[in-house]
Amino acid sequence: MNTKAILELKDISMYFPGIKALDSVDFSIRPGEVHALIGENGAGKSTLVKIITGVYKQTAGQVLLNGEETNFKSALDAQSAGITAIHQEASMFPELSVTENIFMGHHVKKGASGKGPVDWKTMRQRTRELLDDIELDISPDALVKSLGVAQRHMVEIAKALSIDAQIVIMDEPTSALTLREVEDLYKIIRRLRDEGKAIIFISHKFEEIFDICDTYTVFRDGQLIGDGNVSDATISSIINMMVGRSLDLLYPKGESTIGDVVLEVENLNRTGYFKNISFNLHKGEILGFFGLIGAGRTEVMRVLFGIDKASSGEVRLNGKPVSFTKPKKAMKAGIAYIPEDRHEQGTILDMSIADNITLPNVDELSHFGILDEKAERSLAEDFAKKIEIKSAGLNMKTSTLSGGNQQKVVLAKWLSTGPEILILDEPTKGIDVGTKARVHKIVSDMAAEGKAIILVSSELPEVLGMSDRIVVMHEGFVTSVFEREEADPDKVMLAAIAQPGDESA
């Protein structure tokens, strides 16, 4: 590998209001290389990808392609320069066909000059080929809204491959894929590498990095921490770079006594989302829920909190059957739910911190519907102090806070309702290590106080470290339930990807 770098980033910085997402970062990649970008949530990986693909314009620094400085005005420019990417967030057009989703932005046109009409026949045919290539058995004319999560991800991959690119970027392409699909993806990546293409591969899973990547770069908090050849690295050396301290500090599961059953779920169904879900939750217990993205965990929690309706099944609270038609009813029964999407569901970014904290409590704090601003104020102050929200004042807009502090606002908001059952959905996604530890501490303390806790997480170490028991889901089914002692990473992961032989079907 002595060829010259095809892509070089020099001294790149990217600032968002209040955040340095990237801080003087260098990066380079050569043809025929698979390069891993590694880093915790929020380290700046996706931001780097967006700069390379022309979606963002860097605040400072240069991007060199084949030695020449680029100045992409949009993703289109990057595409025509031979750069393609699978972005992390879903970027599909649900109302449009698979073919169109693949070719949006670079429709094939008839005529030699490429000025003719859009050539549907050719595009459909190429889609067919691409789908065959990645062994995806769907019609090119299918509307994307009719596809499942994994199928959508595969279409995203096909989309990246539809461009004859020199550089292919994959931002967490495997997060929703089964083992077999991951194997297919490996095959494709190897083929691309052999064709002399440069591949940037982002993943949180170390085995994947060691399986497929040649080189790596580690980011932490927007800064480059280290890089090198994968063959020279070990998992622990990389983790050290990522986290900057040893792992044991995290996941401080405290002692708590497991009490009576508070919540029983029996054969719960929601058509199209999950089937025959059964489990129990005890007082003082932390019940982990693990699975791949799209496994249906969130959907189950939404039903428990009264957001969605179950199509059948029973939920019992302290032995009594309940059915929450509205979140308010679930709240009255002592359930609190911290949703996974902080921006869309957890907080109201344009409202003040105080108003966010008191929002679920306004009815209780008011007299005949009239706000009691004093009571609100003191409640907000109490919990802001307790959860240690760092802000310029509780009347600041929530949007001015960092991600971690925003998550603390969500925690404060729900803890202030004094819940008996606390459901947390990906509570540490995209927040810094310090806050993460703080969240874990709070959860542990709650359990110690005898509250029942459900912790949904896609981070295996977190689930393993925090839970008393672990429920594992795959494509809408519960595949296994592990006691803390018997849960080892391999077994849990296998259950999550539903290897043949288990009882899910």
């Binding site: 693909t53 022309g54 979606v55 949009s74 993703a75 289109l76 420019d77 990057a78 595409q79 972005h87 967030e89 879903a90 970027s91 599909m92 057009f93 649900p94 109302e95 449009l96 169109e100 949006m104 932005g105 670079h106 429709h107 046109k109 009409p117 859009v118 549907w120 019609s139 809204k145 009719s146 499942g148 058509t271 199209g272 989302y273 999950f274 089937k275 494509e475 809408g476």
Partner: protein, 330 residues
């Protein structure tokens, strides 16, 4: 199995539902009023719907991106008035040149909307609510409050919509031409497809290099362009350019789009659907004049039909979604 599903899908698609509704409606009309089915009446319906079709297609593009263009009626008035004044003052000028000028004026007004929305970031509904007043106000200014009527217009000008080609009135040809152009544009050009992408998922569209600003500017420009065309045709067809022309027309075009299955949230809808929606509106308008003493029920009936069609659409959509869900975890 697969073909079966496709068949089912096709049968349930909004367009076929609309065709069914239209046929049903026509059947009922024919039974109660045999003259309805007379070719001359059908031709009339087509003529009456032509301008609505043309403008609704422009409105369609705007709604497709989740916006709305409330200024089309005023745009028609302004460009129609301007074209008529030009015709009045330059009788020797070819009507085709006047048509082009009228379209250019409409385009210009559309570009004002487009700039406000794309570059000024003014919400579409506000921008066009404002220009709706402004354009109509200026119609009055350029006409000084006067009308331009038949004897001030030249025959070639009035013949623009009224003349025949191959036995089909020009007005219908104009509509056919615009429909064909839109069909081609929306299906076979990148820009057309990009409009769908912005309405479907804005952030995803940006990720694949679609420029939101460009698309927004484009759709309002097109909406203005077709409104300008409609303005000229309108003035020439009724041989009268008055300040109040096409008042309230914007709501007709929105209704045609909604009837045609265009989602007001953006992202879905088709040229065929809009065509059928506008035809249905034209049909409604025409039948109201066909039935004795219907004048007073027209508004009520129109509203009821629009709301029923929308309810029907929503229910169908929900059923379709449910079908998809049922298949998902089978």
């Amino acid at each position: 199995m697969k073909t079966n599903l496709n068949m089912k899908k096709r049968l349930e698609s909004r367009e076929s539902v609309l065709i069914g509704l239209i046929l049903l409606f026509m059947a009922v009309m024919t039974i109660t009023m045999p003259r309805f089915i007379h070719p001359s009446n059908l031709a009339n319906i087509l003529k009456d719907s032509s301008i609505l079709i043309i403008v609704s297609l422009g409105q369609f593009l705007v709604i497709l991106t989740g916006g709305i263009d409330l200024s089309v009626g005023s745009n028609i008035a302004f460009s129609g008035m301007a074209a008529s004044l030009i015709n009045q003052n330059n009788p020797e000028l070819s009507p085709w040149i006047i048509l082009v000028i009228g379209m250019a004026i409409g385009l210009g007004l559309g570009m004002i909307n487009g700039s406000l929305v794309a570059f000024g970031k003014v919400p579409a509904i506000i921008a066009t609510l404002g220009t709706m007043s402004v354009f109509r106000g200026f119609t009055f200014v350029i006409s000084k409050g006067q009308w331009v009527t038949a004897h001030e217009m030249t025959d070639p000008f009035m013949n623009l919509p009224h003349g025949n080609f191959l036995g089909v009135p020009n007005l219908i040809w104009f509509a056919i031409f615009v429909v064909a152009a839109f069909f081609y544009f929306m299906r076979y050009t990148r820009s057309g497809r990009e409009i769908y992408s912005i309405g479907g998922n804005k952030s995803a569209a940006v990720l694949v290099g679609v420029s939101e600003k460009k698309v927004q500017f484009l759709i309002f420009s097109i909406s203005g362009l077709v409104s300008g065309m409609a303005g000229v045709l309108w003035a020439a067809r009724y041989a009268a350019a008055v300040n109040e022309m096409a008042t309230g027309f914007e709501l007709q075009t929105v209704a045609a789009c909604v009837l045609g299955g265009v989602s007001v949230a953006g992202g879905s809808g088709s040229v065929a659907g809009v065509l059928l929606g506008a035809l249905f509106m034209g049909l409604l308008n025409n039948s109201m004049t066909m039935i004795r003493n219907m004048a007073f029920f027209q508004m009520l009936l129109q509203g009821l039909i629009v709301i029923s069609a929308m309810t029907f659409n929503v229910v169908m959509e929900r059923r379709q979604d449910k079908m998809l869900l049922n298949r998902r975890l089978a």
